[in-house]
């Protein structure tokens, strides 16, 4: 009796579970079908345009050829080392930009006088297109990875710096009063109130920076490098291998999305308290 009862209970549980799974699948499908349909239509039009000779293959190679180049590049082992170099440069530049951006931001936001000293120079430097420094950075740091790391870091530094200063300046006075009434030191104020409170701002800067480091890495490679996806693009372009160029662009798009999702995951870990409470899909 007990046995059958337990079995029927677990059967009911399994039924509930599969119903929930079905519901989740339906929800995912409802979200996914419009972009999938649009993508398929686009791909079809592109394939047709190439097959019927509406566009020159040199300008827009057919999707099949790009895919072929991609699998060739990956399977032959040509792409991966270059991808590794470009990613490494971007990541190192990112780490340096985050550390320097938050550090310098903390110094500048520490007093109005310091901020007033720095402000005009920051505005001037921010207004200058940092990419224009690429040739100079190559002269300073050579053809190896460090010139790209520096360029990526310089470009990504400013959004983080600006958002850090804004975030630290926006510290809620009430929270600071709580610490001050306890006789907290300035270091404690920074660690316990100002920095965590500034994190939502800092992350908006980081979201921009993570795109910029890839940009800095590639532009640095264009100007002068021995390795990296940027150099591959230059070579493919010189040989008019457009499909190859497209395959590298596809990799770069994936790389950018990967970095973006990485930042998103980090944000979720650190800013669990600031996430807007979005309802999870009904389960």
């Amino acid at each position: 009796m007990w046995h059958s009862c337990a079995r029927s209970r677990s059967a009911a549980g399994a039924q509930r579970e599969s119903a929930a799974l079905l519901h989740a699948a339906r929800h995912a499908f409802a979200l996914a079908w419009p972009p999938m349909l649009f993508g398929a239509a686009l791909l079809y039009a592109w394939t047709q345009a190439s097959a019927r000779g509406w566009v020159d293959e040199l300008i827009l190679p057919p999707p099949g050829e790009i895919l072929q180049q991609l699998s060739l590049g990956l399977s032959s082992g040509v792409l991966l080392p270059h991808l590794g170099v470009t990613l490494l440069q971007a990541l190192l530049g990112f780490v340096i930009a985050v550390a320097a951006g938050i550090g310098v931001g903390a110094v500048i936001a520490s007093s109005p006088l310091v901020e007033r000293c720095f402000n005009p120079f920051l505005i001037a430097f921010e207004a200058m297109p940092k990419i224009a420094m690429a040739p100079l950075v190559i002269v300073w740091f050579g053809y190896g990875i460090w010139s790209k790391v520096v360029l990526a870091a310089v470009i990504a530094f400013f959004p983080i710096l600006v958002s850090t200063i804004l975030g630290l300046r926006a510290s809620e006075p009430g929270r600071l009063d709580v610490l001050r009434a306890l006789g907290a030191s300035r270091a404690q104020e920074f660690r316990l109130v100002r920095l965590p409170g500034a994190l939502p701002f800092i992350f908006s800067g980081i979201n921009v920076a993570v795109v910029f480091v890839l940009l800095g890495s590639i532009v640095g490679e264009f100007v002068g490098a021995k390795q990296g996806l940027g150099t591959l693009i230059l070579i493919a372009n010189e040989n008019l291998e457009t499909a190859r160029t497209f395959s590298i662009l596809a990799i770069l798009a994936l790389l950018g999305m990967l970095l973006h999702f990485g930042v998103g995951a980090l944000r979720q870990r650190l800013l669990f308290w600031a996430e807007p409470r979005t309802g999870s899909p009904p389960a």
Binding site: G174, D177, R180, A181, Q188, L199
Partner: protein, 277 residues
């Protein structure tokens, strides 16, 4: 019928033992942007005895928050003297715990971690058990791991009260702690506050613009004039403790509230009170 309210004593109370807090000739002048000087406080004198519950009521802008911020050590630039247990009081002190109008919790810390914040600042070790006890005392047992964003306004203010008590201060300063809450929550919180003050045996100094709240909670109510802030009257509340919300119906309660309202309004109109307003 005998008057329960003692006739106003002289403006400076002189409790039996040496007072916990003694304020003399306290004045504060704020410079304005135009270079003028605004007299916020003028020759304030007050004593708070150990274990006493004292409220300061007055119209908005009369400087009552300035008094509290000076006692909290958040304003150091003033004329006159402030002494805690006979010692000159300058700057923040471990003898004082403060609850502000906003709970001012750190949204990235759980309720328990927020209560433990003073331990971190003052480098006190092994306070977890005490923090949990305090959370239980303010009625939040089981909410230790909740984030402030998951708590109601009243719950957040309870966490703030527990936090203010963690380092076991002698004096609890409350700056309109329930001003941001709705009237019903506020009534409940006032009953809770009376219980917490009795349970923790703390000396409490409450700033409020709600006369009924002050009368309901206090042993003594100090009435402040508009700017420049002076203490114009001091009224002992001799209603028996513990007091329940039904005391609002008590004639003596209503009389006291009306009397203080008249003091604040000049001869102005008196309305029948609720606890909240």
């Amino acid at each position: 019928m005998s008057t329960v309210l003692e006739a106003a004593r002289p403006a400076i109370a002189t409790p039996r033992a040496a007072p916990l807090i003694a304020v003399r000739e306290l004045s504060k002048v704020y410079p304005t942007a135009k270079g003028e000087r605004v007299q916020a406080l003028s020759h304030i004198a007050l004593d708070i005895a150990e274990g006493e519950f004292v409220s300061l009521v007055g119209p908005s802008g009369c400087g009552k928050t300035t008094v509290l911020r000076i006692l909290a050590g958040l304003i150091g630039d003033y004329a006159g003297s402030v002494a805690v247990r006979g010692r000159a009081h300058c700057g923040p002190s471990r003898e004082v715990g403060v609850v502000f109008q906003d709970a001012n919790l750190m949204p990235w810390r759980t309720a328990l971690a927020n209560v433990l914040l003073p331990a971190e600042v003052l480098r006190l070790k092994g306070q977890e058990a005490r923090a949990k006890e305090l959370l239980a005392m303010v009625g939040l047992a089981g909410f230790e791991r909740k984030l402030p964003g998951e708590l109601s306004g009243g719950m957040r203010q309870r966490v703030a009260i527990a936090r203010a008590l963690l380092h076991d201060p002698a004096l609890l300063l409350l700056d309109e702690p329930f001003g941001a809450l709705d009237a019903m929550t506020r009534d409940t919180m006032n009953v809770e506050l009376a219980r917490i003050a009795a349970a923790s045996r703390k000396t409490v100094f409450l700033i409020t613009h709600s006369i009924a709240e002050a009368v309901f909670l206090s042993d003594r109510v100090l009435v402040m004039s508009p700017r420049p802030g002076r203490i114009v009257e001091e009224i002992a509340i001799d209603l028996p403790k513990p007091r329940g919300l039904d005391i609002i119906a008590d004639r003596r309660f209503a009389d006291t509230v009306v009397r203080i309202r008249r003091l604040l309004d000049g001869e102005g109109t008196a309305q029948l009170p609720s606890i909240a307003h």
